[in-house]
Amino acid sequence: MSDQVRSDTRLSSVSRDVRDQIADLQADYIAALDSQDMKGWLASFDENNSSYFCRSKENEDEGLEVGYMFDDCHERICDRVKFVDEIWAGTFEEYQTRHFLQPTRCKSLGEDLYSAQTNFTVMYTDDAGITKVLASGCYDDEIVVNGVARLRSRKAVLDTNVVPRYMVYPI
């Protein structure tokens, strides 16, 4: 990566205020998921227009869009809350997750829109109290920042190519 490109996408390329709002969004997002609060997860998305995708790096590299979760409109993100909280309730193990994030890149896309890349590691703990890695990867986000930050689109791209067991909660 050239010095020019790197400095344009460094975290410091955007204002401290914008960085703080994005950091709050990321923290709220993982705090919601780690407490199985699906409505809190939903609140991280822009309610006018948003999407959420979760797929493997294998598919991403091949230009294939499908994967684990494909929520291409805000309505389907709302529906995912209903699936987990209501329809699936009682059939899955309510495993405990812990998300750990590290922002790596951020840049302005004009107006109040920003793109951001953030590495993640997600651990999960099962009913027996055993903790393992669920997934490692990178979020590729578009974020609207105007007093409060919301996800316009989030793509969770998993380096982990074979996930353990099954996935109930989004990453």
Partner: protein, 424 residues
């Protein structure tokens, strides 16, 4: 199949309490936990039968290859420079290193070189180059009688069945059509789904911590589908009261199919009264387009689960088409590889329908997530009591084609054939 198909040839292992020969309405749990059984399955159930390896659409061009497994043996499927498809064991003929290390790719020159000492093989698996064959400066080199032809990779017999590539170690096995039981519902439904060239939409992969046979049972069990998968019930995608049935192919493959359409009110009521964890009527989604889909086949069948033993499930659920490859990884783990596909001639709208409906299936699928969970619940609970047995008696003790979905017949048929192959 080989000689082990004669029922009188069954001998009981003294340490596992099987029901009498010919009756597989229960199985001893030890069959899911024994290492010796697992090892024997590789020899008797996987290697001598047709195993799914790849979609032809995954290796469309000359030089393409894909690494996968036949049972737990690593194999590579290749397309040579002439366009022919081959497969070989991914283990160097020199000292055993893995030759191909990528999941998939293209070797335009058709050469596969082992990194360890750079033996080179062609797409057929034949040895074509050995460094220092004649030594260096008159020193070293291979003996005069060293014959390159004797040091190729171990070859796997392949067949391309309507765009699905199968492999076997058994040179005497009938072709795939014959393996599926010849003309019948199983081969009919295979060809119905594989009716024209396919297009790959993506993959997902999951490790399930259970014996592979617990999943084999699951894919042959229409009984669980409306009870475990509440999404099915909630949105009427599948109910036990639907018009549908099960058919067997060569007695251990099965197809489970169901048509959309209203059940009559009394069956619907009876259905609901039988389930304690039940669904709510009149549920709606914010985006009902997930379930809108498009009618693709004239027969009105909206759900087909083909369970092709030992390694494959081919499915149509609404507009989702997928193959699921079952790869055993040990006595208590298997990998499930989902490959989603559509047809080459799908229009953009159809692509979009299939993409969003992929939410229904896979490791996070609205009607398949619970199968991984159910398999692990079994594996975790059966430890120690090897001779305790399950109960597989829904719809009787035998197995046959049935015009309804309230049955475990296909599960019994699987066990019957499994015992013949294993000599249990």
């Amino acid at each position: 199949m080989d000689a082990k198909t004669d029922p009188s040839a069954i001998s009981h292992l003294p340490d596992l309490a099987w029901p009498p020969a010919g009756v597989s309405d229960s199985v001893p749990f030890g069959v899911f936990t024994d290492q010796a059984t697992y090892d024997l399955e590789q020899e008797r159930v996987f290697r001598p039968t047709w195993n799914y390896l790849a979609l032809e659409a995954e290796i469309p061009n000359a030089g393409d290859y894909k690494s996968t497994f036949l049972g737990d043996t690593p194999v590579v499927v290749t397309r040579d420079t002439e366009g022919e498809i081959h497969a070989w064991v991914n283990r160097c003929a020199h000292r055993g290193a893995m030759v191909c290390r990528e999941n998939q790719g293209n070797n335009a020159d058709g050469t596969y070189t082992c990194v360890y000492h750079q033996w080179a093989f062609d797409a057929k698996g034949d040895l074509i180059g050995v460094p220092f064959r004649r030594g260096l400066g008159g020193k070293g080199g291979y003996p005069k009688d060293f014959d390159m032809k004797e040091h190729g990779l171990q070859k796997v017999r392949v067949e391309n069945y309507h765009g699905l590539i199968f492999g076997t170690f058994n040179e005497d096995l009938v072709d795939v059509e014959g393996f599926l039981g010849g003309e019948g519902d199983v081969s009919y439904h295979m060809k119905r789904i594989l009716n024209r060239p396919l297009k790959v939409l993506g993959h997902t992969r999951q490790f399930v911590d259970s014996n592979w046979k617990i999943y084999a049972e699951n894919t042959k069990d229409p009984y669980h589908a409306s009870l475990l998968h509440l999404f099915h019930m909630t949105f009427g995608l599948y109910r036990s009261s639907q018009v549908g049935g099960v058919s067997l192919g060569d007695e251990w493959h099965s197809v489970l199919f169901a048509s959309a359409g209203e059940e009559d009110e009394s069956t619907k009521k009876e259905n609901k009264e039988n389930a304690s964890r039940t669904y709510q009527e009149g549920y709606t989604l914010a985006d009902m387009s997930l379930l809108a889909g498009r009618k693709e086949y004239d027969d009105g069948v909206t759900l087909v689960i083909l369970s092709i033993m030992p390694s494959l499930v081919v499915q149509q659920i609404q507009n989702t088409l997928a193959v699921r490859q079952i790869l055993p990884k040990g006595v208590d783990q298997f990998e499930l590889v989902w490959t989603y596909f559509g047809y080459d001639d799908d229009d953009a709208e159809m692509d979009a329908i299939r993409e969003k409906q992929v939410n229904l299936i896979g490791p996070a699928g609205l009607i398949s997530m619970e199968d991984g969970e159910a398999c692990e619940l079994v594996q975790n609970a059966i430890i120690r009591d090897r001779d305790a047995r399950s109960c597989i008696q829904m719809s009787g003790h035998d197995f046959k084609d049935e015009p309804h979905l309230v049955t475990e017949g296909p599960v019994r048929s699987f066990w019957n054939r499994y015992r013949l192959l294993m000599d249990f």
